[in-house]
């Protein structure tokens, strides 16, 4: 660090800005651009069951695009993403709205936020394991439903199912939606609400014509978080799905486990493309620059 500062001092005015940017650029190059480039390269290699051989072959891609199972996995991933995104939005918007408009004191806003973040104090794995006594065959939910005579047989599908995966993912990522929406709601000038009421708007009009349009950037940023994070999910899918659910991330992790690096790389490249498309679509729909 000190060494770098020393070098910066020696640089002429003209190059100093580049000198300042250089460390960050270096980090990005080594830890982002280089690995991605490697993945892209490896995705064209061949694998014969024992070793990888450098090549320039589309074999991996053709096998992915032609096999039904891959298509299903991708569709299932997109289904998870849409479900989790939709449910997160439905939960997060009211929460953010409540925090922004109904909690007037900073102290209480902080307290509520801390409560929201408490689940994040424990690791993801532990939180997922704790779903087991909750949702399992003998779990709390089944016990309660049986006691209340709502069901006669314990529900098998509560745990180790797509339902469980979506539930855990929502639990995991909903806060990533709450925070950006809360931020954009807090930025809305309260006089705009007063002005709208002054001009004869009902509270529903105020929401529809003023608050919702002005919180779009927050929704977009939250959506980008949730979509990109869920898109690559594999641990939650594996644990909560109990082997019954699949996602591209889980698929890639399995392929890595069986040393099929070229195939895993090809899948990673395609997944990255799909994610980029999603993000591009969101950015096209909403101009988030004002928020940044």
């Amino acid at each position: 660090m000190a060494f770098w500062v020393l070098i910066l001092g020696k640089l002429s005015e003209k190059f100093r800005p580049y000198g300042l940017v250089a460390p960050q650029l270096l980090v990005l190059l080594i830890f982002l651009v280089l690995p991605i480039a490697l993945i892209v390269i490896v995705s064209f290699w061949q694998f014969n069951g024992y070793t990888m051989t450098p090549a320039f072959s589309f074999e991996n891609y053709t096998s992915i695009f032609t096999a039904r199972v891959y298509l299903d996995t991708y569709l299932n991933t997109v289904r998870f993403v849409s479900l989790v995104w939709g449910i997160c939005l439905l939960i997060a918007y009211p929460v953010a709205y409540f925090l922004a408009f109904h909690v007037h004191r900073l102290r209480w806003q902080i307290i509520w936020f801390v409560i929201c973040t408490i689940p994040f104090f424990t690791s993801n794995i532990i939180r997922m394991i704790s779903w087991v006594p909750m949702l399992g065959r003998e779990g709390l939910v089944n016990q309660a439903l049986l006691q209340l005579n709502i069901i006669q047989q314990p529900l098998e599908k509560l745990l180790f199912s797509d339902f469980a995966v979506v539930l855990a993912l929502v639990h995991l990522y909903v806060l990533f939606m709450v925070v950006p929406i809360f931020n954009s709601l807090m930025r809305i000038d309260r006089n705009l609400v007063t002005a709208a009421l002054d001009l004869g708007a009902t509270s529903f009009d105020v929401f529809k014509d003023v608050i919702l349009p002005l919180s779009r950037p927050g929704i977009a940023i939250g959506s980008i978080f949730v979509v990109t994070l869920v898109m690559g999910e594999f641990i939650t899918v594996r644990w909560m799905g109990g082997g019954q659910s699949s996602s591209v991330g889980y698929l890639i992790s399995n392929q890595i486990g069986s040393l099929q690096y070229p195939l895993a790389s090809a899948n990673a490249v395609i997944l990255l493309m799909v994610t980029v498309l999603f993000v591009a679509a969101i950015l096209r729909a909403v101009d988030i620059r004002k928020q940044l």
Partner: protein, 418 residues
């Protein structure tokens, strides 16, 4: 109160409504923001609520608008008591301090918003929006977003948005404070013009005395949640009713003393104050509704008794140097006095001699047309401010540090009971 030139060709039917506040009080918990306000605003008049920040003027405006609840008292708009009626149904429209334009809507949609919310059919909405856009000269900006407009243009959009719904009363919260000086002066004229053209009741909040004076038919000076004085700008300026008004409104010099003599004259009472370190100062207590007043003023006839603690004030521009004629006109052309003029100025200087003190010039501030002269009274050490035309000051030949004799007329020295 005043007849107003109405109906420019584009101005629609005029609805008029006055505003009346009766004993209006507002508490926030244990804090009293506004206390027992009584105020009557004539239909079609321009009223300014003037006062320092925290005096309750904005709270009052927001109560009239319906954005603050009234703790007690009555509020009437037109012939309706509007306590508890929501803002949207009060037939008022507010112009906000920072305009509160909807940033995601175009200028046109901003202006049309109120009409849309009121369920005005699309065709009429478009016609009225176009009309008002032309009136405020913003037609070419109709498709822009507010952040693509200058401050002055934004201000006009805010005004247009309020005018287009044709309310009885327009409420303006410091509408000019975000503009730079030259734009503020121009917009001020425009505001007054529009108000007259529409014949609407305008109530504006401001902390700027010049703004209140130039715009209003009626100025309401507020301090700490109470009304100190209501009157025409001339009344407020020439006859401050309280020490606060005198301090807030002009470059007034205030002297504290004890009442030692009261003598009634045609304007009210002539009061002799004994001021420590100065001696006798004669000041005038005006009886209500005197001289050139157009309408009633709230300033009560001060009840005075000998021995009472009181004060008086004299504006900096009403102080005269000894030997200088108070009638400025006789100097301006540089021609030696004719007999008639010297007779007039003789009476004037006789009046000027009523109050006389000696002071030392401590500082001279050149501000352009006038100079501000700081004076230290001897021997009391009190600070006085005098405003003179720069030319006159230079002609007098006085220097900083010099001793001068000051005088002022009886009727320029206003008695202040509190």
């Amino acid at each position: 109160m005043t007849s107003i030139a109405l109906h420019s060709e584009s101005t629609p039917k005029v609805v008029q409504g006055g505003v009346v506040l009766r004993e209006v009080t507002k508490h926030y918990g244990s804090f009293t923001a506004v206390e027992q306000l009584n105020l009557s605003v004539e239909p079609g008049s321009y009223t300014c609520l003037l006062g320092p920040s925290g005096c309750g003027k904005t709270t009052t405006l927001r109560m009239i608008a319906g954005h603050e609840e009234i703790t007690s008292g009555e509020l009437w708009i037109g012939d309706r008591k509007v306590n508890g009626i929501p803002a949207a149904k009060r037939d008022t429209a507010m112009v906000f301090q920072n305009y509160a334009l909807f940033p995601h809507k175009t200028v046109r949609d901003n202006i049309a918003f109120g009409l849309k919310m009121r369920g005005v059919p699309r065709a009429e909405r478009q016609r009225r929006t176009a009309e008002i856009l032309a009136l405020v000269d913003l037609e070419e900006f109709a498709r822009r977003k507010p952040d693509q407009l200058s401050g002055g243009q934004q201000q006009r959009v805010a005004l247009a948005r309020a005018l287009v719904i044709r309310p009885q009363v327009i409420l303006l919260d410091e509408p000019l404070s975000a503009l730079d000086e030259s734009l503020r002066l121009r917009t001020r004229l425009e505001l007054r013009k529009l108000q007259k053209q529409f014949g609407l009741t305008f109530i504006q909040v401001t902390h700027a005395q010049d703004e209140a004076f130039s715009l209003s038919d009626q100025v309401v000076v507020m301090d700490r949640g109470r009304i100190d004085q209501v009157g025409t700008p001339e009344q407020i300026f020439n006859r401050p009713a309280s020490r606060f008004v005198a301090q807030f409104v002009g470059d007034n010099n205030i002297l504290n003393g004890t009442v030692v003599g009261i003598r009634s004259n045609e304007a009210g009472d002539e009061i002799e104050l004994q001021v420590e370190g100065i001696g006798s100062v004669f000041c005038q207590a005006f009886s209500n509704g005197s001289a050139s007043d157009r309408s009633s003023t709230h300033s009560p006839v001060p009840k005075v008794s000998v021995g009472q603690q009181a004060a008086c004030c004299v504006r900096g521009d009403r102080l005269h140097l000894r030997g200088e004629e108070p009638a400025i006109a006789s100097h301006s052309n540089g021609i030696p006095h004719s007999n008639k003029e010297s007779h007039a100025s003789a009476t004037a200087s006789a009046q000027a001699r009523i109050n006389q003190i000696t002071a030392r010039v401590s500082a001279v501030e050149f501000t352009g047309f006038v100079s501000r002269i700081s004076l230290t009274l001897e021997p009391s050490g009190l600070e006085f401010l005098m405003k003179v035309r720069t030319d006159d000051w230079l002609r007098s030949g006085h220097q900083e540090g010099q001793r001068v004799e000051l005088g002022w007329c009886l009727e320029d020295c206003i008695f202040l009971a509190q």
